[in-house]
Protein backbone atom coordinates (compact mmCIF):
# COMPACT_ATOMS: atom_id res chain seq x y z
CA UNK A 1 0.00 0.00 0.00
CA UNK A 2 1.39 3.35 -1.06
CA UNK A 3 -0.57 6.28 0.36
CA UNK A 4 0.03 9.77 1.74
CA UNK A 5 -1.11 8.99 5.26
CA UNK A 6 0.15 8.73 8.83
CA UNK A 7 -1.45 6.27 11.23
CA UNK A 8 -4.08 4.43 9.11
CA UNK A 9 -6.59 4.55 11.95
CA UNK A 10 -6.23 8.35 12.14
CA UNK A 11 -7.01 8.97 8.46
CA UNK A 12 -10.58 10.19 8.95
CA UNK A 13 -9.76 12.48 11.91
CA UNK A 14 -6.86 14.03 10.04
CA UNK A 15 -8.79 14.36 6.78
CA UNK A 16 -11.66 16.19 8.47
CA UNK A 17 -9.25 18.59 10.18
CA UNK A 18 -7.51 19.32 6.88
CA UNK A 19 -10.79 19.87 5.04
CA UNK A 20 -12.17 22.19 7.68
CA UNK A 21 -8.92 24.18 7.73
CA UNK A 22 -8.91 24.55 3.96
CA UNK A 23 -12.54 25.68 3.77
CA UNK A 24 -12.92 27.49 7.07
CA UNK A 25 -14.99 30.18 5.39
CA UNK A 26 -17.64 27.59 4.53
CA UNK A 27 -17.63 24.87 7.15
CA UNK A 28 -16.74 24.05 10.75
CA UNK A 29 -16.15 20.85 12.67
CA UNK A 30 -18.47 20.18 15.60
CA UNK A 31 -16.35 19.71 18.75
CA UNK A 32 -15.34 16.10 19.57
CA UNK A 33 -17.01 14.71 16.45
CA UNK A 34 -16.27 14.15 12.79
CA UNK A 35 -19.32 16.17 11.83
CA UNK A 36 -18.77 18.90 9.22
CA UNK A 37 -21.35 21.66 9.65
CA UNK A 38 -22.04 24.66 7.44
CA UNK A 39 -21.26 28.18 8.57
CA UNK A 40 -24.44 29.75 7.26
CA UNK A 41 -27.06 31.84 8.99
CA UNK A 42 -29.92 29.90 10.52
CA UNK A 43 -33.28 31.15 9.34
CA UNK A 44 -35.91 28.72 10.45
CA UNK A 45 -35.66 26.22 7.62
CA UNK A 46 -35.57 22.42 7.75
CA UNK A 47 -32.03 21.13 8.27
CA UNK A 48 -30.63 18.53 5.87
CA UNK A 49 -28.13 15.96 7.18
CA UNK A 50 -26.35 13.15 5.38
CA UNK A 51 -23.24 11.12 5.91
CA UNK A 52 -21.88 7.63 5.84
CA UNK A 53 -18.56 5.89 5.81
CA UNK A 54 -15.60 7.95 4.64
CA UNK A 55 -13.66 7.13 1.49
CA UNK A 56 -16.25 8.60 -0.90
CA UNK A 57 -14.90 12.15 -0.96
CA UNK A 58 -16.06 14.70 -1.87
CA UNK A 59 -19.19 12.94 -0.47
CA UNK A 60 -20.60 13.98 1.80
CA UNK A 61 -18.75 16.85 3.48
CA UNK A 62 -18.07 18.44 0.08
CA UNK A 63 -21.78 19.12 -0.27
CA UNK A 64 -22.20 20.96 3.01
CA UNK A 65 -23.17 24.59 2.50
CA UNK A 66 -25.99 26.99 1.82
CA UNK A 67 -28.48 25.40 -0.57
CA UNK A 68 -27.36 21.82 0.04
CA UNK A 69 -26.49 19.92 3.26
CA UNK A 70 -26.58 21.53 6.71
CA UNK A 71 -24.14 18.94 7.99
CA UNK A 72 -22.37 15.72 7.00
CA UNK A 73 -21.30 12.97 9.39
CA UNK A 74 -17.99 11.33 8.44
CA UNK A 75 -17.78 7.73 9.65
CA UNK A 76 -14.64 5.61 9.65
CA UNK A 77 -13.51 4.48 6.19
CA UNK A 78 -16.35 2.49 4.56
CA UNK A 79 -18.06 2.21 7.96
CA UNK A 80 -21.31 3.88 8.95
CA UNK A 81 -20.99 6.71 11.47
CA UNK A 82 -22.39 6.13 14.95
CA UNK A 83 -25.74 7.40 16.34
CA UNK A 84 -24.17 9.79 18.88
CA UNK A 85 -22.33 11.65 16.09
CA UNK A 86 -25.38 11.68 13.83
CA UNK A 87 -27.37 13.09 16.76
CA UNK A 88 -24.86 15.94 17.15
CA UNK A 89 -25.26 16.73 13.44
CA UNK A 90 -29.05 16.72 13.83
CA UNK A 91 -28.91 19.02 16.86
CA UNK A 92 -26.58 21.48 15.14
CA UNK A 93 -28.74 21.50 12.00
CA UNK A 94 -32.11 22.00 13.66
CA UNK A 95 -33.45 25.48 13.04
CA UNK A 96 -36.75 24.72 14.74
CA UNK A 97 -38.47 23.08 11.77
CA UNK A 98 -36.99 19.62 12.15
CA UNK A 99 -34.22 17.80 10.32
CA UNK A 100 -34.32 15.60 7.22
CA UNK A 101 -31.83 12.75 6.81
CA UNK A 102 -30.51 11.35 3.52
CA UNK A 103 -29.32 7.78 4.12
CA UNK A 104 -27.67 5.43 1.64
CA UNK A 105 -29.19 1.96 1.75
CA UNK A 106 -26.71 -0.16 3.71
CA UNK A 107 -27.76 -2.20 6.76
CA UNK A 108 -25.27 -0.38 8.99
CA UNK A 109 -26.17 3.12 7.82
CA UNK A 110 -29.89 2.50 8.14
CA UNK A 111 -29.54 1.10 11.68
CA UNK A 112 -27.26 3.86 12.93
CA UNK A 113 -29.35 6.68 11.42
CA UNK A 114 -32.57 5.13 12.78
CA UNK A 115 -31.02 4.96 16.25
CA UNK A 116 -30.03 8.63 15.91
CA UNK A 117 -33.61 9.48 14.91
CA UNK A 118 -34.85 7.70 18.06
CA UNK A 119 -32.41 9.75 20.15
CA UNK A 120 -33.50 12.99 18.43
CA UNK A 121 -37.15 12.13 19.10
CA UNK A 122 -36.28 12.03 22.80
CA UNK A 123 -34.87 15.54 22.48
CA UNK A 124 -38.04 16.70 20.74
CA UNK A 125 -36.45 17.29 17.35
CA UNK A 126 -38.67 16.12 14.50
CA UNK A 127 -36.78 13.91 12.09
CA UNK A 128 -37.77 12.32 8.78
CA UNK A 129 -35.59 10.47 6.32
CA UNK A 130 -35.26 8.97 2.88
CA UNK A 131 -33.17 5.91 2.04
CA UNK A 132 -31.45 6.15 -1.34
CA UNK A 133 -31.20 2.85 -3.24
CA UNK A 134 -30.22 3.76 -6.80
CA UNK A 135 -27.80 0.92 -7.63
CA UNK A 136 -29.61 -1.29 -10.14
CA UNK A 137 -26.72 -3.80 -10.17
CA UNK A 138 -28.31 -5.39 -7.10
CA UNK A 139 -31.39 -7.53 -7.24
CA UNK A 140 -34.12 -5.81 -5.26
CA UNK A 141 -35.64 -8.72 -3.41
CA UNK A 142 -36.18 -10.16 0.03
CA UNK A 143 -33.01 -12.17 -0.56
CA UNK A 144 -30.74 -9.14 -0.39
CA UNK A 145 -30.44 -6.11 1.85
CA UNK A 146 -31.99 -4.28 -1.12
CA UNK A 147 -30.37 -1.99 -3.64
CA UNK A 148 -27.35 0.02 -2.51
CA UNK A 149 -27.14 3.77 -2.41
CA UNK A 150 -24.43 5.15 -4.71
CA UNK A 151 -23.65 8.29 -6.77
CA UNK A 152 -27.28 9.28 -7.37
CA UNK A 153 -27.38 10.27 -3.70
CA UNK A 154 -25.62 13.51 -4.61
CA UNK A 155 -28.55 14.54 -6.82
CA UNK A 156 -30.87 13.86 -3.88
CA UNK A 157 -28.72 16.16 -1.72
CA UNK A 158 -28.95 18.87 -4.35
CA UNK A 159 -32.67 18.71 -5.00
CA UNK A 160 -33.66 18.43 -1.34
CA UNK A 161 -31.10 21.06 -0.35
CA UNK A 162 -32.57 23.56 -2.80
CA UNK A 163 -36.11 22.72 -1.70
CA UNK A 164 -35.19 23.16 1.97
CA UNK A 165 -33.51 26.47 1.15
CA UNK A 166 -36.72 27.53 -0.56
CA UNK A 167 -38.60 26.80 2.67
CA UNK A 168 -40.09 23.32 2.11
CA UNK A 169 -41.47 21.67 5.25
CA UNK A 170 -40.28 18.36 6.67
CA UNK A 171 -43.32 16.59 5.21
CA UNK A 172 -42.82 18.20 1.81
CA UNK A 173 -39.17 17.12 1.80
CA UNK A 174 -40.21 13.56 2.67
CA UNK A 175 -42.65 13.43 -0.24
CA UNK A 176 -40.15 15.00 -2.61
CA UNK A 177 -37.32 12.74 -1.42
CA UNK A 178 -39.36 9.57 -1.95
CA UNK A 179 -40.39 10.70 -5.41
CA UNK A 180 -36.85 11.61 -6.47
CA UNK A 181 -35.43 8.33 -5.17
CA UNK A 182 -38.01 6.31 -7.08
CA UNK A 183 -36.98 8.10 -10.30
CA UNK A 184 -33.24 7.64 -9.72
CA UNK A 185 -31.09 4.81 -11.03
CA UNK A 186 -27.36 4.24 -11.26
CA UNK A 187 -24.94 1.57 -12.31
CA UNK A 188 -21.17 1.37 -12.16
CA UNK A 189 -18.15 -0.63 -13.22
CA UNK A 190 -14.63 -1.11 -11.88
CA UNK A 191 -11.24 -1.64 -13.46
CA UNK A 192 -9.39 -2.04 -10.17
CA UNK A 193 -10.27 -2.27 -6.47
CA UNK A 194 -9.96 0.32 -3.72
CA UNK A 195 -7.53 -0.14 -0.84
CA UNK A 196 -8.98 0.81 2.53
CA UNK A 197 -5.99 2.26 4.44
CA UNK A 198 -7.10 0.52 7.63
CA UNK A 199 -7.12 -2.85 5.87
CA UNK A 200 -3.96 -2.25 3.87
CA UNK A 201 -4.89 -4.59 1.03
CA UNK A 202 -7.10 -4.19 -2.05
CA UNK A 203 -10.78 -5.02 -1.41
CA UNK A 204 -10.94 -7.63 -4.19
CA UNK A 205 -8.77 -9.17 -6.86
CA UNK A 206 -9.25 -8.67 -10.56
CA UNK A 207 -7.06 -9.48 -13.55
CA UNK A 208 -5.01 -6.70 -15.16
CA UNK A 209 -7.07 -7.15 -18.35
CA UNK A 210 -10.47 -7.52 -16.68
CA UNK A 211 -13.32 -5.21 -15.70
CA UNK A 212 -16.35 -5.91 -13.49
CA UNK A 213 -19.80 -4.50 -14.11
CA UNK A 214 -21.94 -3.48 -11.15
CA UNK A 215 -19.26 -3.19 -8.45
CA UNK A 216 -20.43 -1.17 -5.43
CA UNK A 217 -18.69 1.86 -3.93
CA UNK A 218 -17.23 -0.27 -1.14
CA UNK A 219 -16.01 -2.89 -3.60
CA UNK A 220 -19.14 -5.03 -3.24
CA UNK A 221 -19.31 -7.60 -6.01
CA UNK A 222 -20.92 -6.73 -9.33
CA UNK A 223 -22.88 -8.87 -11.72
CA UNK A 224 -20.38 -9.83 -14.42
CA UNK A 225 -16.69 -9.85 -15.28
CA UNK A 226 -15.40 -9.39 -18.79
CA UNK A 227 -12.19 -8.58 -20.60
CA UNK A 228 -11.34 -4.90 -20.82
CA UNK A 229 -13.06 -3.30 -23.81
CA UNK A 230 -13.36 0.14 -25.41
CA UNK A 231 -15.23 2.88 -23.59
CA UNK A 232 -18.00 2.76 -26.19
CA UNK A 233 -18.90 -0.83 -25.33
CA UNK A 234 -18.67 -0.17 -21.58
CA UNK A 235 -21.06 2.73 -22.05
CA UNK A 236 -23.36 0.56 -24.13
CA UNK A 237 -23.61 -2.07 -21.39
CA UNK A 238 -24.45 0.48 -18.68
CA UNK A 239 -26.96 2.34 -20.86
CA UNK A 240 -28.62 -0.97 -21.80
CA UNK A 241 -29.06 -1.87 -18.12
CA UNK A 242 -30.56 1.55 -17.35
CA UNK A 243 -32.86 1.35 -20.35
CA UNK A 244 -34.27 -1.97 -19.09
CA UNK A 245 -35.07 -0.33 -15.76
CA UNK A 246 -36.56 2.92 -17.02
CA UNK A 247 -38.39 1.74 -20.13
CA UNK A 248 -38.01 5.25 -21.44
CA UNK A 249 -39.73 6.84 -24.45
CA UNK A 250 -38.10 9.21 -26.86
CA UNK A 251 -38.42 12.76 -25.62
CA UNK A 252 -38.31 11.81 -21.91
CA UNK A 253 -36.38 14.28 -19.81
CA UNK A 254 -33.44 13.15 -17.64
CA UNK A 255 -30.65 14.50 -15.47
CA UNK A 256 -27.32 12.78 -16.14
CA UNK A 257 -24.48 12.25 -13.68
CA UNK A 258 -21.26 10.55 -14.70
CA UNK A 259 -19.15 9.85 -11.66
CA UNK A 260 -15.49 8.86 -11.30
CA UNK A 261 -14.57 6.29 -8.64
CA UNK A 262 -11.44 8.06 -7.43
CA UNK A 263 -8.60 6.92 -9.65
CA UNK A 264 -10.15 7.34 -13.07
CA UNK A 265 -8.84 10.53 -14.70
CA UNK A 266 -11.25 13.16 -15.98
CA UNK A 267 -9.81 12.53 -19.44
CA UNK A 268 -11.30 9.03 -19.39
CA UNK A 269 -14.51 10.25 -17.75
CA UNK A 270 -15.07 12.67 -20.63
CA UNK A 271 -14.30 10.01 -23.25
CA UNK A 272 -16.95 7.86 -21.59
CA UNK A 273 -19.30 10.85 -21.41
CA UNK A 274 -18.94 11.33 -25.14
CA UNK A 275 -19.95 7.69 -25.70
CA UNK A 276 -22.93 8.00 -23.36
CA UNK A 277 -24.00 11.13 -25.19
CA UNK A 278 -24.11 9.32 -28.54
CA UNK A 279 -26.05 6.39 -27.11
CA UNK A 280 -28.64 8.54 -25.37
CA UNK A 281 -28.94 10.77 -28.42
CA UNK A 282 -29.95 7.69 -30.41
CA UNK A 283 -32.61 7.06 -27.78
CA UNK A 284 -33.77 10.65 -28.30
CA UNK A 285 -33.71 11.49 -24.61
CA UNK A 286 -33.76 15.07 -23.46
CA UNK A 287 -30.72 15.45 -21.18
CA UNK A 288 -31.85 18.53 -19.35
CA UNK A 289 -29.08 18.52 -16.74
CA UNK A 290 -25.56 17.10 -16.93
CA UNK A 291 -22.63 16.69 -14.55
CA UNK A 292 -19.33 14.84 -14.85
CA UNK A 293 -16.58 14.33 -12.28
CA UNK A 294 -15.66 12.75 -8.95
CA UNK A 295 -18.73 13.03 -6.73
CA UNK A 296 -19.05 9.67 -4.95
CA UNK A 297 -15.68 7.97 -5.06
CA UNK A 298 -14.41 4.71 -3.66
CA UNK A 299 -10.97 5.82 -2.37
CA UNK A 300 -8.59 4.81 -5.18
CA UNK A 301 -10.83 2.54 -7.22
CA UNK A 302 -10.54 2.86 -10.97
CA UNK A 303 -14.03 2.91 -12.39
CA UNK A 304 -17.01 4.96 -13.30
CA UNK A 305 -20.74 5.07 -12.69
CA UNK A 306 -23.65 6.35 -14.70
CA UNK A 307 -26.70 7.88 -13.04
CA UNK A 308 -29.96 8.94 -14.64
CA UNK A 309 -32.77 10.77 -12.89
CA UNK A 310 -36.08 10.89 -14.72
CA UNK A 311 -37.33 14.44 -14.38
CA UNK A 312 -40.91 13.95 -13.20
CA UNK A 313 -41.41 17.64 -12.43
CA UNK A 314 -39.68 20.58 -14.14
CA UNK A 315 -39.25 22.13 -10.69
CA UNK A 316 -36.54 19.49 -10.09
CA UNK A 317 -34.43 21.14 -12.80
CA UNK A 318 -34.72 24.47 -11.01
CA UNK A 319 -33.56 22.76 -7.84
CA UNK A 320 -30.63 21.14 -9.65
CA UNK A 321 -29.63 24.47 -11.18
CA UNK A 322 -30.12 26.60 -8.07
CA UNK A 323 -26.90 28.26 -6.85
CA UNK A 324 -25.07 26.72 -3.88
CA UNK A 325 -21.99 27.51 -1.84
CA UNK A 326 -20.26 24.20 -1.21
CA UNK A 327 -16.80 22.75 -1.65
CA UNK A 328 -17.64 20.28 -4.39
CA UNK A 329 -20.97 20.72 -6.22
Amino acid sequence: MKKIINDPSAVVDEMVKGLVFAYDGLVEQLPDTNVVHRKADKNGKVGLVSGGGSGHEPSHAGFVGKGMLSAAVCGEVFTSPTPDQILEAIKASDEGQGVFLVIKNYSGDVMNFEMAKDLADMEDIKVEYVVVDDDIAVEDSTYTAGRRGIAGTVLVHKILGAAAEEGASLEELKALGDKVVSSLKSIGLALSPATNPEVGKPGFEIGADEIEFGVGIHGEPGYRREKLQPSASLAEELVTQLKKEFNWQSGDSFALLINGMGATPLMEQFVFTNDVHHLLQKEELDLAFKKVGDYMTSIDMEGISLTLLKIADSKWLDYLNAPVTTIAW
Partner: protein, 197 residues
Protein backbone atom coordinates in the same frame (compact mmCIF):
# COMPACT_ATOMS: atom_id res chain seq x y z
CA UNK B 1 -27.17 -15.20 39.81
CA UNK B 2 -24.49 -13.55 37.69
CA UNK B 3 -21.94 -11.73 39.82
CA UNK B 4 -20.71 -8.41 38.52
CA UNK B 5 -17.07 -9.47 39.04
CA UNK B 6 -17.60 -12.54 36.87
CA UNK B 7 -19.30 -10.48 34.17
CA UNK B 8 -16.42 -8.00 34.30
CA UNK B 9 -13.96 -10.86 33.83
CA UNK B 10 -16.07 -12.02 30.86
CA UNK B 11 -15.87 -8.61 29.22
CA UNK B 12 -12.12 -8.33 29.90
CA UNK B 13 -11.56 -11.67 28.17
CA UNK B 14 -13.89 -10.69 25.30
CA UNK B 15 -11.92 -7.46 24.79
CA UNK B 16 -8.67 -9.43 24.76
CA UNK B 17 -10.04 -11.90 22.21
CA UNK B 18 -11.40 -9.17 19.94
CA UNK B 19 -8.02 -7.45 19.86
CA UNK B 20 -6.24 -10.75 19.27
CA UNK B 21 -8.60 -11.73 16.43
CA UNK B 22 -8.81 -8.34 14.71
CA UNK B 23 -7.08 -9.47 11.53
CA UNK B 24 -8.92 -12.80 11.44
CA UNK B 25 -12.36 -11.20 11.74
CA UNK B 26 -11.54 -8.64 9.06
CA UNK B 27 -10.34 -11.42 6.78
CA UNK B 28 -13.66 -13.22 7.22
CA UNK B 29 -15.41 -9.95 6.35
CA UNK B 30 -13.17 -9.40 3.31
CA UNK B 31 -14.45 -12.68 1.85
CA UNK B 32 -18.16 -11.80 2.05
CA UNK B 33 -18.40 -8.19 3.21
CA UNK B 34 -16.19 -5.14 3.19
CA UNK B 35 -13.28 -6.24 5.36
CA UNK B 36 -13.86 -4.06 8.38
CA UNK B 37 -15.51 -6.26 11.00
CA UNK B 38 -12.29 -6.96 12.93
CA UNK B 39 -11.28 -3.30 12.86
CA UNK B 40 -14.75 -2.22 13.96
CA UNK B 41 -14.83 -4.64 16.89
CA UNK B 42 -11.22 -3.87 17.86
CA UNK B 43 -12.02 -0.15 17.90
CA UNK B 44 -14.92 -0.93 20.23
CA UNK B 45 -12.76 -3.22 22.37
CA UNK B 46 -10.07 -0.57 22.83
CA UNK B 47 -12.65 2.03 23.85
CA UNK B 48 -14.39 -0.44 26.15
CA UNK B 49 -11.12 -1.30 27.88
CA UNK B 50 -10.64 2.40 28.67
CA UNK B 51 -14.24 2.82 29.81
CA UNK B 52 -14.20 -0.20 32.12
CA UNK B 53 -10.93 0.94 33.71
CA UNK B 54 -12.53 4.24 34.76
CA UNK B 55 -14.58 2.88 37.65
CA UNK B 56 -15.45 -0.07 39.86
CA UNK B 57 -18.82 -1.53 38.92
CA UNK B 58 -21.07 -2.70 41.74
CA UNK B 59 -23.99 -3.85 39.59
CA UNK B 60 -24.52 -5.78 36.39
CA UNK B 61 -26.87 -3.23 34.86
CA UNK B 62 -24.35 -0.37 34.80
CA UNK B 63 -21.62 -2.63 33.49
CA UNK B 64 -23.78 -3.91 30.62
CA UNK B 65 -25.23 -0.49 29.86
CA UNK B 66 -21.83 1.19 29.62
CA UNK B 67 -20.66 -1.66 27.41
CA UNK B 68 -23.66 -1.15 25.13
CA UNK B 69 -23.13 2.58 24.90
CA UNK B 70 -19.45 2.13 23.98
CA UNK B 71 -20.40 -0.44 21.32
CA UNK B 72 -23.01 1.90 19.83
CA UNK B 73 -20.72 4.93 19.79
CA UNK B 74 -17.40 3.35 18.79
CA UNK B 75 -17.94 0.26 16.64
CA UNK B 76 -19.94 1.74 13.75
CA UNK B 77 -21.12 -0.28 10.75
CA UNK B 78 -23.90 -2.82 11.21
CA UNK B 79 -22.29 -4.56 14.16
CA UNK B 80 -22.16 -1.41 16.33
CA UNK B 81 -25.92 -0.90 16.66
CA UNK B 82 -26.45 -4.67 16.84
CA UNK B 83 -24.00 -5.42 19.67
CA UNK B 84 -24.99 -2.10 21.25
CA UNK B 85 -28.67 -3.04 21.24
CA UNK B 86 -27.79 -6.49 22.61
CA UNK B 87 -25.90 -5.12 25.62
CA UNK B 88 -28.42 -2.34 26.29
CA UNK B 89 -31.29 -4.86 26.27
CA UNK B 90 -29.28 -7.17 28.55
CA UNK B 91 -28.73 -4.20 30.90
CA UNK B 92 -32.49 -3.63 30.99
CA UNK B 93 -33.13 -7.31 31.73
CA UNK B 94 -30.62 -7.19 34.59
CA UNK B 95 -32.29 -4.08 35.94
CA UNK B 96 -35.75 -5.63 35.89
CA UNK B 97 -34.56 -8.78 37.61
CA UNK B 98 -31.40 -8.77 39.68
CA UNK B 99 -31.49 -12.57 39.80
CA UNK B 100 -31.87 -12.90 36.03
CA UNK B 101 -30.81 -16.27 34.67
CA UNK B 102 -28.08 -16.29 32.03
CA UNK B 103 -30.34 -17.74 29.34
CA UNK B 104 -32.91 -14.99 29.93
CA UNK B 105 -30.22 -12.34 29.90
CA UNK B 106 -28.90 -13.60 26.56
CA UNK B 107 -32.42 -13.90 25.17
CA UNK B 108 -32.97 -10.20 25.94
CA UNK B 109 -29.75 -9.48 24.02
CA UNK B 110 -30.90 -11.53 21.05
CA UNK B 111 -34.26 -9.75 21.08
CA UNK B 112 -32.35 -6.47 20.88
CA UNK B 113 -30.34 -7.71 17.88
CA UNK B 114 -33.44 -8.94 16.07
CA UNK B 115 -35.45 -5.82 16.80
CA UNK B 116 -32.71 -3.65 15.31
CA UNK B 117 -31.58 -5.87 12.42
CA UNK B 118 -34.79 -7.77 11.63
CA UNK B 119 -32.86 -10.94 10.77
CA UNK B 120 -34.39 -14.36 11.39
CA UNK B 121 -32.50 -17.62 11.86
CA UNK B 122 -30.85 -18.88 8.67
CA UNK B 123 -29.96 -15.54 7.10
CA UNK B 124 -26.23 -15.94 7.82
CA UNK B 125 -25.78 -13.39 10.60
CA UNK B 126 -24.78 -13.35 14.24
CA UNK B 127 -28.37 -14.41 15.00
CA UNK B 128 -27.42 -17.91 13.83
CA UNK B 129 -24.86 -18.04 16.63
CA UNK B 130 -27.04 -16.58 19.39
CA UNK B 131 -30.10 -18.82 18.91
CA UNK B 132 -28.48 -22.26 19.37
CA UNK B 133 -26.14 -20.94 22.09
CA UNK B 134 -29.09 -19.69 24.15
CA UNK B 135 -30.83 -23.05 23.73
CA UNK B 136 -27.76 -24.84 25.06
CA UNK B 137 -27.41 -22.42 27.97
CA UNK B 138 -31.01 -23.17 28.87
CA UNK B 139 -30.28 -26.88 28.90
CA UNK B 140 -26.98 -26.41 30.67
CA UNK B 141 -25.01 -28.03 27.88
CA UNK B 142 -23.04 -25.27 26.20
CA UNK B 143 -19.38 -26.09 25.52
CA UNK B 144 -16.58 -24.33 23.68
CA UNK B 145 -16.78 -27.01 20.98
CA UNK B 146 -20.46 -26.28 20.45
CA UNK B 147 -19.83 -22.55 20.18
CA UNK B 148 -17.27 -23.26 17.45
CA UNK B 149 -19.59 -25.72 15.77
CA UNK B 150 -22.35 -23.10 15.45
CA UNK B 151 -19.88 -20.61 13.97
CA UNK B 152 -18.81 -23.25 11.46
CA UNK B 153 -22.46 -23.98 10.64
CA UNK B 154 -22.90 -20.50 9.15
CA UNK B 155 -20.65 -21.60 6.26
CA UNK B 156 -23.21 -23.37 4.05
CA UNK B 157 -25.88 -20.70 4.58
CA UNK B 158 -26.66 -18.27 1.78
CA UNK B 159 -26.73 -14.72 3.16
CA UNK B 160 -29.94 -12.76 2.83
CA UNK B 161 -29.18 -9.96 5.33
CA UNK B 162 -26.31 -7.49 5.61
CA UNK B 163 -23.59 -6.81 3.07
CA UNK B 164 -22.96 -10.51 2.41
CA UNK B 165 -26.42 -10.75 0.83
CA UNK B 166 -25.09 -8.90 -2.25
CA UNK B 167 -23.02 -12.03 -2.97
CA UNK B 168 -26.03 -14.33 -3.17
CA UNK B 169 -24.83 -17.87 -3.88
CA UNK B 170 -21.22 -16.76 -3.56
CA UNK B 171 -21.69 -16.14 0.16
CA UNK B 172 -21.96 -19.92 0.60
CA UNK B 173 -18.83 -21.59 1.96
CA UNK B 174 -17.69 -18.71 4.16
CA UNK B 175 -18.08 -18.20 7.92
CA UNK B 176 -20.17 -15.16 8.86
CA UNK B 177 -17.85 -12.65 10.56
CA UNK B 178 -20.52 -11.45 13.02
CA UNK B 179 -21.24 -15.04 14.05
CA UNK B 180 -17.50 -15.51 14.59
CA UNK B 181 -17.20 -12.45 16.85
CA UNK B 182 -20.28 -13.63 18.77
CA UNK B 183 -18.52 -16.99 19.08
CA UNK B 184 -15.70 -15.18 20.88
CA UNK B 185 -18.29 -13.57 23.17
CA UNK B 186 -19.70 -16.95 24.15
CA UNK B 187 -16.36 -18.73 24.50
CA UNK B 188 -15.09 -16.03 26.85
CA UNK B 189 -18.40 -16.28 28.71
CA UNK B 190 -17.65 -19.96 29.36
CA UNK B 191 -14.03 -19.27 30.24
CA UNK B 192 -14.96 -16.58 32.75
CA UNK B 193 -17.35 -19.02 34.42
CA UNK B 194 -20.50 -16.96 33.88
CA UNK B 195 -22.44 -20.10 33.00
CA UNK B 196 -21.40 -21.82 36.23
CA UNK B 197 -23.10 -19.33 38.51
Amino acid sequence: MIKVETAKKWLDLFIEQLLENKVYLSELDTAIGDGDHGNNMARGATALKEKLAEKEYDNLTDLLKDTGMVMVSKVGGASGPLYGSAFIEMAKAAKNDEQVALADLLQAGLDGIQKRGKAAQGEKTMVDEWIPVIEDVQNNQLTTEKVDEYVEKTKPIKATKGRASYLGERSIGHIDPGAASSGLLFKTMLKAGVADE
